[in-house]
Symmetry: C2
Subunit: 353 residues, 2 copies
């Protein structure tokens, strides 16, 4: 935890998992993962592609109000390829189990996620903080909300127990570097075999935070209205393009070595359609649940996001954060009621208005 | 696959996993797991307690119509202790991940289960057989049932991806040796970290098969009516006692090192109750789903059970099997509608009558 300092040291081994994940994800999606030239495990040294200017951290771009017209296209491509190709939709169970074992060693960083995402925000913790006193009651409400706690426990179990695919593990908007033409995913030190929705949710959840922060960045001459529309469209496109690319990969490889749905049983157009609809519906619900957990923890947990932190006036910041918190709680508790991403967009607009 | 012969060789390593599982489960429940005295990995040799006469294989006892008044008590004890204590309800995520890795090596036997339980019965396979011609149409119906295939795919994913606890992996009634006073669980060569419901379902599913086979064993002077009542009671008691013992262990250790539900978040009587109800409801549904898959595969898959095979008249055997198949299909497709084990008993009685 860089933000806590020396009292919370991190394992040196994280560089190993970062390097392995960069190589594996890079092999699957070289367009959006920087190349690793050299890794020295003893030195924990990664030699990799320099992401030259004008590449900047996506979060900085979102705060500055810069539109990235290819962002949804690129991120959906990255997520579809990396998640599909490391799952049992593409792999044999033998390959899968071997790969799972390799990343089980990354337990320290998984435990960090368990604590900061699924636990600390729901209890009194010395590390938690929020925009006080404005959100004092909101933070307390979260600790008292049984339904919220029950739902976050279900997600935590899924995070700890379900080895669905090799996920990035920390796919927020500071793990992505961008130019108008290029999108590069970095920092997969939290990578392990976990639920796909944790990655998709991290990315979409952080776009939602960026959306609700815009009112705090609006100034003279720029009300950020059209930028907010662009963020909404990017969220909607990210999921819809992901859905399209992921199911296209599935169709392409339905007679391959993936062992989840053997062709001898499932290769029938009507059945294939039903199977995919069920899978994608559950993946949307996971995405919304994990995304919501990631939003909540950024407002009342240990590590906050610059989107809100850079809003100087505490009362304005608190208003922005409270709206994000409201949506996060709704998504976490009622995610199964959402049948499409456009309903999420509607809920965002409703809260914003 | 002993029943296929040399054309389907099994890994020598299975003895290693059997010995490790016997030791670990034996450490948690020594009353119902025979002691291992010596294991030689090179020789694949296990030196373990001799289960002296009158111990017999439970399945033989069920076919002979012998009542075991302590069976539900003992099996619920074994399952509650072994499953609870190897899950995140009792363990830290660090211990859990280390243990998961150890058993990932047992991939060959997991793959065998995937094939014979979750795949072969739902497709044309050279290994499948059934009581022909009586069940020809029934076997075909299974291969044409979209909903059944969708549901079995969900269970297969859970089996492959969800490391919930160290399960026995093959807990049918031939993996249990009994006397009226003693119940000993043997042969955990399929052990790995998987879904708890796979074990509970295997046991209950095989009791259900034993129940439907009774009409084939009824003879002059013994209509097996009271024995069938005893089996029904044993099924009901097994789940209800398991539920009671499992939640008692949970209550006892709720302030322990289990990381699924941290006391600082969940230690509140009302919330604890809600959490347990949700957990046990989902576990019942998993149990019924996996139990149903195990029943179906024993009737139209590669390996059958002596309960039915020992019924000489094919038409009588087919009638018994068809009833079991009917219940299996109902449980697999509609398991989420069952809220208690007594509803399963009612469904069994309804099909039987």
């Amino acid at each position: 935890m860089r933000c806590i300092g020396e009292s919370w040291p991190m394992t040196k081994e994280r560089a190993y998992f970062e390097a392995v994940a960069l190589k594996q994800h890079g092999g699957l999606c070289p367009e959006h993962v920087p190349e690793v030239y050299h890794f020295d495990r003893t030195m924990s040294l990664i030699g990799m592609r320099y992401l030259e200017p004008p590449h900047i951290i996506l979060r900085k771009g979102l705060i500055a109000g810069i539109e990235y017209p290819l962002l949804a296209e690129h991120m959906s491509e990255y997520m579809a390829k990396t998640l599909f190709c490391t799952s049992l939709l593409y792999r044999s169970t033998t390959e899968h189990k071997r790969a799972v074992v390799e990343f089980c060693g990354n337990v320290e960083l998984c435990r960090l996620t368990e604590q900061v995402v699924f636990s600390d925000p729901y209890k009194v913790s010395e590390y938690n903080h929020w925009t006080s006193p404005y959100l004092d009651r909101d933070a307390e409400t979260i600790r008292e909300d049984y339904l919220l706690k029950i739902e976050v426990a279900e997600l935590k179990s899924k995070f700890c127990e379900r080895a669905q695919a090799l996920i990035h593990g920390d796919l927020h908007t500071s793990s992505v570097m961008v130019t108008p033409d290029s999108t590069q995913v970095i920092d997969p030190e939290f990578a392990f075999y976990g639920p796909m929705g944790f990655d998709i949710g991290a990315f979409i959840g952080n776009l939602i935070l960026a959306f609700f922060a815009q009112d705090g960045h609006a100034g003279q001459g720029n009300d950020r209205k059209s930028y907010k529309e662009w963020i909404l469209k990017t969220i909607e496109d990210t999921w819809n393009l992901f859905h399209q690319k992921f199911t296209a990969l599935w169709d392409e490889h339905k007679n391959g070595s993936g062992e989840a749905y053997l062709p001898a049983i499932y290769n029938n157009p009507e059945l294939q359609k039903l199977i995919q609809e069920k899978y994608m519906k559950e993946l949307l619900h996971d995405t919304l649940g994990f995304g919501a957990a990631k939003m909540i923890r950024r407002i009342v947990g240990v590590a906050h996001v610059e989107d809100f932190e850079s809003i100087k006036e505490a009362n304005i910041r608190a208003d922005c954060e409270r709206r994000a918190l409201e949506l996060g709680k709704t998504l976490l508790k009622r995610r199964r009621e959402f049948v499409s991403i456009s309903e999420v967009i509607s809920a965002m607009k409703h809260i914003q208005s």
